[in-house]
């Protein structure tokens, strides 16, 4: 390889190696790296906090720590030949001789102007220490003594660095009243404001004056301000949105904002750099940490009351949700009680704020929503005359939302119509329309409206509301009355087509709540009674049989319930969780023991059994089990067989013959003695001659034939339920076959034996049915003359 090439390679390698090492880092975001915010160099809550350092002894301790070891008598080597500092000053520079007084040893008599320089280098009678002077200035003008210390460091001639300072270095220590406005624009210092005490006091006064008269000055918070980068106007300007009084005050005192180069070069200098405000920021960070509080909300360590410090007024906070409603304003910072005490106290902070431009806003969720009139403010319970005034920059931290309207939705799902200082929950848009109202909605947090009392909710008729707090439900039949609605499957099924929505209990409590709960039965104005079943409402043909007290509802509401039709003529009910079917008779519910009895009980081929609430079932007194009328029963302990007559009577039987002729089901059902004991047992046995209603019948081969027997025979009167299950024929049979095989012609209740088959055929040709009878029935019929 060519040697020249090798050499060139080695050279380039060397350069590139060190070049890469020493390349400066990427400074594109240098301002962010330093954290310097030109619009918010320091927060008001820090800048104007006079109590941040405690008493003067703490300031003295601070000076002791930050002032170098003092060479009061100039005995230390100056580095200039063999001269010590005093010799160097006097012989070489023509400066005064010792004592040289360091800041932590400096005393001054404010009345006479005498200082430690004339008094032996330290404390003297009548002298006030620098720490005390700083403390007094801070307290008098309510400026943080840290601010004065930092300004002293940036404005003075090295008082925090010099180990043998001269008196001249104290003369204009705060850079106050020493402008270049003398002849030829030379320094034109005002001697009446010279000296450490006056410099410190006037500087503190000036900063307070800026605060009190900010509107007159060239820089102000809450607006865009044009600021030069440097004392040299050719270096250009920057538009800065100043956020607070403290920062504006710094810019009035030192009217330049540092460029990125100046920020990056700290503690050095840079082209077109300005250093006063840069140094203030960096010096502060070195000594006191952050120049910013956690936020605009402050409290003192001694008092838990939190305030929002607005535009020179502090507003106490009783509702912590007000802090969470404005995260852009930050959290809670700690300040001294003296800082808070010096700020006038306004009314309790509410949701209403305004900035310097006068627009009143409602704030929540980091948004400010402007009001377009004081009437709208009033609708929200506010008063245009008592709204917290914040600085414009505080207001500007919140995003601007839409105009406030009377309609408001919350993230928790509530809808309010807000007027007259109350919030009215709106059930739905249809409810609002029904009330003749129409509004647009904004969406904010629920907490935003905690302060407003509830008003009567806006709810349309025939809807169901559910409490958000306890889930209880109410049926609204108009806009003022609510009926408690029971929890049951039957109710759910019956009201399933009603719109349901949630309201707070506080809203519901403002309505007239009906005393009775809609549960198992309702009745309209005309007296039509319905039970609430699995299949919806069912008309009750005989409400008195149930013995219930239904809730009166408008017929228009009842018409909207699910369900049609009615219960059976005899009500048959069961609950959801029990298989027992009850027959409702005589104001009692009687358990049905066999479904096959249904038809005999209701007289219907398809009986309807209503599934109803347990409450309804439980409200009806329980009676004996029910057996269908005209059924045969016996107990295990006794051979006697009975026929049920109706639902409460038993007729003993001495023979099965009457039962057979009456058409009774011959299956014998066994019941317990205790159940039997609840029946009324007739004293006479069952016969075939009976009365149903007012008609006498005689049973033959399972059918009742209308017939009245002569001879004083008394028929047994049967209960209607029993009669209902028996087959009747209103015409008597023409011929009766007796158990001995004889066929008789029955004429007017008398049997006439027929002598031959041929005669029977002859007679039967004229009509008339032939039926058989049992022996006992036959014995009831007298026998007449035979027919041949």
């Amino acid at each position: 390889m060519n040697r020249k090439l090798i050499l060139a390679f080695a050279f380039v390698f060397t350069l590139s190696f060190f070049g890469s090492v020493f390349l400066p880092p990427n400074n594109a975001n240098a301002t962010n790296a330093s954290g310097f915010d030109p619009g918010r160099i320091i927060d008001d809550a820090i800048f104007y906090d006079p109590g941040s350092m405690g008493g003067p002894s703490n300031i003295q301790n601070f000076l002791n720590a930050h002032v170098p070891a003092c060479d009061t008598w100039g005995t230390q080597p100056s580095g200039y030949g063999n001269l010590n500092n005093a010799q160097y000053a006097q012989q070489i520079k023509g400066w005064p001789g010792p004592p040289y007084v360091c800041l932590n040893n400096y005393y001054e008599n404010p009345s006479t102007g005498e200082t430690s320089f004339e008094k032996g280098g330290g404390a003297f009678s009548g002298g006030v220490s620098a720490a005390q002077i700083i403390y007094d200035a801070a307290q008098t003008y309510h400026i943080n003594p840290k601010v004065l210390l930092v300004m002293l460091r940036k404005e003075s001639l090295n008082l925090f660095s010099d180990s043998w300072p001269m008196k001249s270095q104290y003369k204009y220590a705060m850079g106050y009243a020493c402008p270049d406005s003398g002849p030829g624009y030379s320094a034109n210092c005002q001697s009446d404001k010279a000296g450490f005490y006056k410099q410190m006091t006037y500087a503190a006064w000036q900063l307070r004056y800026y605060y009190d008269h900010m509107g007159s000055y060239n820089y102000a918070p809450g607006q865009w301000n044009t600021i030069q980068y440097s004392p040299d106007p050719n270096c250009g300007t920057k538009d800065v949105y100043i956020q607070n009084y403290a920062t504006a005050s710094l810019y009035i005192y030192t009217p330049y904002t540092p460029n990125d180069a100046a920020l990056n070069s700290y503690p050095g200098t840079a082209p077109c750099g300005a250093y006063g405000n840069r140094n203030f920021y960096f010096f502060w960070q070195e000594w006191f940490g952050s120049t910013m509080t956690n936020g605009n909300f402050v409290r003192s360590p001694d008092d838990a009351t939190v305030y929002l410090v607005g535009d020179k007024v502090k507003y106490p906070i009783a509702d912590t949700s007000l802090i969470g409603a404005a995260p852009a304003l930050g959290g809670i910072g700690f300040v001294s009680q003296s800082y808070l005490d010096n700020i006038p106290t306004g009314s309790l902070l509410s949701r209403f704020i305004h900035g310097t431009d006068g627009t009143i806003y409602f704030y929540d969720s980091n948004i400010k929503l402007p009001f377009d009139s004081c009437a709208m403010v009033s609708a929200y319970g506010g008063n245009c005359g008592s709204v917290a005034e914040l600085t414009q920059s505080q207001v500007d931290k919140l995003s601007t939302g839409p105009l406030m309207t009377k309609g408001m939705k919350t993230k928790g799902g509530r809808t309010y119509y807000i007027d007259g200082g109350v919030k009215k929950e709106v059930f739905d848009d249809q409810s609002l329309s029904a009330a003749g109202l129409s509004v647009g909605y904004n969406l904010l947090s629920d907490a935003a409206f905690n302060y407003l009392p509830y008003g009567k909710p806006i709810v349309r008729k025939d809807v169901i509301t559910q409490s958000r707090q306890d889930q209880t439900r109410k049926l609204f039949t108009d806009d003022t009355t609510a009926y408690p609605l029971a929890v049951s499957q039957a109710v759910d099924d019956t009201f399933s087509q009603f719109t349901m929505g949630q309201l707070d209990n506080q809203s519901i409590d403002l309505l007239t709540i009906a005393p009775k709960t809609v549960n198992s039965s309702v009745v309209d104005e005309t007296g039509k009674t319905y039970v609430i079943t699995r299949d919806g409402k069912k008309l009750v043909p005989d409400p008195s049989s149930l013995g219930i007290s239904p809730v009166v509802l408008p017929s228009t509401t009842i018409a909207k319930l699910n369900g049609t039709g009615s219960l059976s003529t005899v009500s048959l009910l069961k609950s959801y969780d029990n298989a027992t079917v009850y027959v409702i008779v005589g104001g009692q519910k009687r358990p049905l023991v066999a479904m096959e009895d249904l038809q005999s009980i209701t007289g219907e081929s398809q009986s309807y059994i209503g599934w109803v609430t347990n409450d309804l079932i439980n409200s009806i007194p329980t009676g004996n089990i029910i057996v269908g009328a005209g059924r045969l029963v016996k107990t295990p302990s006794n051979a006697t067989v009975y026929m049920t007559d109706g639902y409460n009577n038993l007729i003993p039987m001495s023979t099965f013959d009457p039962a057979k002729d009456l058409g009774i089901n011959m299956d014998i059902r066994t019941i317990s003695d205790s159940i039997l004991a609840k029946y009324t047992v007739d004293s006479s046995v069952l016969g075939s001659y009976v009365t149903c209603g007012s008609t006498n019948y005689i049973g033959m081969s399972g059918t009742l034939y209308k017939m009245t027997l002569s001879g004083g025979t008394v028929p047994r009167v049967l209960q209607a339920q029993t009669c209902n299950v028996l087959t009747k024929n209103e015409a008597a049979p023409g011929f009766v076959r007796t158990p001995d095989g004889t066929i008789n012609q029955l004429t007017s209740g008398v049997l006439h034996p027929i002598g031959s088959w041929a005669k029977y055929v002859e007679l039967s040709a004229n009509g008339g049915i032939t039926t058989g009878v049992t022996r006992s029935t036959a014995s009831l019929l007298p026998t007449g003359s035979a027919i041949y």
């Binding site: 050499l7 001269m166 624009y185 060239n218 006191f288």
Partner: protein
Amino acid sequence: MKINTKHNSKVKVIAIIVAACLVAGIIYLGIAFVNHYAPFVEKKQPIESGEQMTNLERSDAEKQKTQQLLDNPASKTENNQTDKPNAPTETTPSGKQSVNVLLTNASITNNNVHASGFVTNLAQEGGECTYVFTNGSSTITKKSNTLVNPTSTTCEAVTFSSDELPVSGTWKVVLSYSSSNATGTSNTKEFTK
């Protein structure tokens, strides 16, 4: 074979120089690493908001400044970072010194016109400020007093109802300052009524 000794000696010299540079560089890097010189300067992270303290330790910047004064005691009466403005040097035809005037804000908010500015390189009492608002042939003039700052002179801000502006549209604002011995005119700002 003939050996080019002259050429080889040149190569050796260059190689030695490169090696010396490398060694010197490495030594420097070691020292820089220990003492946090470039490129090992510590970049401090911004302090978190609300992190207040009182540091009773002298910072590196303070120590460096003290050392500078020990090294050069003649500089103890100097502070080159106080942002003192350059004194006016130009003279106007009227014989007055030309000062720099900066219009810092001109805006209209909530039906109020606001304007503010100051003389950046003069702290003087007794001068007079004039804000001139123009829109075509319409002109509004507002005079204001001065407020003296440590190194500058504020022209008191003016605020007035926008109803005083006779026409709508874009308004231009200029601030001028005049005293017995100084005069100056500012930059122009605009706002829309």
